[in-house]
């Protein structure tokens, strides 16, 4: 049974039709590369799965169960974690505060709940070490490099054992060495049984880690095939429209 399934999902923003009857399914432990030109609708798919937008039409299933996400917390509770394209970080907060934003660790004193700074800093530090990132939990995000910011965004997904991790352009703003680390991380997630959706403009990344590639063009899915049965040339053709469907 697929861990995540979209059936006939569409999304309108006023007069703009961003998604047009998209079907997509994802098996446990599978890495799906999602490709397409700017404006093809990739981020919109991510945001619908993550509970940021309700779809205009269509259905979502997690482990076969019909779900409706009206807010990000709903999706998270079903085991879906997201690394957003714009990383969704607060520059004025520390790395640790960003990692735990929205699910702070607390300790109770009487009837009151206070932030457990020490435990959050320690846990965030451990996650950064695990990600082999030299990010320090107490540093403000505003002072950080692209790679460190990426580590903060990814560390967030490691707070729980998610079923699905959605990564929207995780390698867009970072150095070559850091790209290799992110790809390594995706492999480790897969080996641990998590399903990953990797959105990327970079053909080599997708062909290095994905099992399957889906191509979006102007709001529709035009291809969905095993990496071993496709080629960078074919995918490029599908993205640009030189190849109609495959």
């Amino acid at each position: 049974m697929p861990v995540l399934e979209l059936r006939n999902i569409s999304k309108n923003f006023g007069a703009i039709r961003a998604l047009n009857g998209v079907d997509l399914s994802l098996d446990p432990g599978e890495v799906l590369g999602l490709m397409g030109d700017n404006g093809a609708g990739k981020s919109t798919i991510v945001k619908i799965i993550a509970g940021n937008f309700l779809p205009t039409g269509g259905e979502i299933f997690v482990d076969g169960e019909h779900v409706q996400f009206s807010k990000p917390l709903d999706a998270r509770q079903k085991g879906i974690e997201v690394v957003y394209q714009d990383l969704a970080l607060c520059n004025n907060l520390t790395a640790a505060a960003n990692v735990f934003l929205g699910r702070e660790l607390k300790r109770g004193i009487g009837p009151f709940q206070f932030l457990d700074h020490a435990r959050m800093i320690k846990k965030a530090g451990e996650l950064f070490v695990e990600l082999k990132s030299e990010t320090r939990p107490r540093d403000l995000v505003v002072q950080m490099s692209g790679g460190q910011r990426q580590a903060v965004a990814i560390a967030r997904t490691r707070l729980t054992e998610p079923k699905v991790v959605l990564m929207d352009e995780p390698t867009a703003a970072i150095s070559v060495r850091q790209v290799a680390e992110v790809l390594d991380l995706i492999r480790r997630l897969r080996d641990a049984g998590h399903a990953v959706v990797l959105i990327s403009h970079r053909m080599p990344d997708v062909f290095a880690v994905a099992d399957r590639v889906a191509v979006m063009r102007r709001g529709s899915k035009v291809a969905d095939k095993l990496i071993s049965k496709s080629s960078p040339e074919e995918v490029t053709g599908l993205i640009t429209g030189a190849i109609d469907v495959a």
């Binding site: 714009d86 607060c90 699910r103 695990e130």
Partner: protein
């Protein structure tokens, strides 16, 4: 952790210790980069200079009592304003809320209701304005500047209508206790000063030690990010405006007791002094920064300067010029510091 820990740990290029081991430096740096720290020093310098120039008049207990009481009202409101400004909002209606709450409380007292029921009605009147502000800003996404400019006008007009444009001063059977709450003192410190001190401590805890406080900063830093990660942005923003109105209403009830009367013009121009206090204390009008201590010390600095100018024989009508210049100066300072960071 189902990631392969055995593989991940030895290969790690950094150890947990080095990741965690930079605490002292950060605290020292944070102190030096905090505007409230420099404002405290400026305040200290002012106090020393004035004590030398005017040893009798300035450093008397009476003057200390007056200065602290005068900035207590502004400081209490500045705490609430800080919560709003941290989210990137603004509340221009606080001065009018003072007038509205004072009159609502006064009308009740004049009708011989008890001090606590009258105060409760006053607080509710303030919360009502806060609810309108918060709802329109948080849920209908209207500009905070425009909304609270609107309620600035509405609340003041309601105060005038409700008071029949008359001064209310016959406070009924509970007049003594009501006037004591706002105008009396405990252990030779004015009651509003006690409230300011306690509120500052509570706000410092809320802002630094609770998830609610952290969400204010997150919203001010990047509202979309806060929303995406599951922060209940709209509810928190609404609550910030409610909190600001609540602090204003408490200050207004006490101010009414201190004055022993309610007039609809009460609190006119307070918004400026309150906003100036928070900004001087280090709150950024773009949102994302500010603190309880900053609001306290900002209010104190403005009052000490005002007091000093009066003692130096400067006409009190110049006050607005100074307060206004201070806001601009503080914002300028913030921008210069921001530029240096980039």
């Amino acid at each position: 952790m189902s990631l392969d820990a055995r593989q991940a740990k030895p290969a790690a290029s950094v150890a947990v210790e080095s990741v965690l081991g930079n605490k002292e430096k950060t605290i020292f740096q944070r102190l030096l980069s905090a505007q409230s720290f420099w404002v405290t020093i400026a305040l200290g310098v002012m106090v020393v200079v004035m004590s030398i120039l005017q040893p009798e008049a300035f450093s008397s207990w009476d003057n200390f009592y007056n200065i602290t009481r005068n900035f207590a009202f502004v400081g209490i409101i500045a705490l609430g304003m800080t919560a709003v400004i941290i989210t990137g909002g603004i509340d221009l209606s606080v001065g009018s809320i003072i007038g509205f709450v004072g009159v609502a409380t006064g009308v009740m007292l004049q009708a011989e209701y008890s001090w606590w029921l009258s105060s409760l009605v006053g607080l509710s009147a303030g919360l009502l304005v806060g609810l309108v502000n918060g709802y329109l800003v948080a849920y209908l996404n209207l500009s905070a500047f425009v909304v609270t400019l609107g309620t600035l006008s509405i609340a003041r007009s309601l105060a005038i209508v409700l008071s029949g444009n008359k001064m209310l001063y016959e406070f009924g059977p509970d007049a003594d206790i009501f006037n004591w709450i706002g105008g009396g003192d405990i252990l030779t410190i004015a009651n509003p000063v006690w409230l300011l001190v306690v509120s500052t401590i509570i706000f410092a805890i809320i802002l630094n030690q609770t998830a609610w406080g952290r969400y204010l900063y997150a919203i001010g830093g990047n509202e979309q990010a806060a929303q995406a990660t599951g922060v209940p942005v709209q509810r928190i923003k609404l609550q910030a405006y409610l909190l600001c109105a609540f602090m204003t209403a408490i200050a207004a009830v006490m101010l009414t007791g201190y004055n022993g009367s309610a007039i609809n013009a009460n609190g006119t121009g307070y918004e400026l002094r309150v906003i100036a206090s928070t900004v001087i204390g280090g709150a950024n009008l773009m949102g994302g920064s500010g603190g309880a201590y900053g609001a306290f010390i900002g209010a104190a600095l403005i009052e000490v300067i005002r007091n000093s100018l009066i003692m130096a024989g400067v006409d009190s009508n110049w006050q607005g010029t100074f307060v206004g210049s201070f806001i601009i100066l503080a914002v300028l300072l913030e921008q210069v510091r921001g530029r240096r960071r980039d």
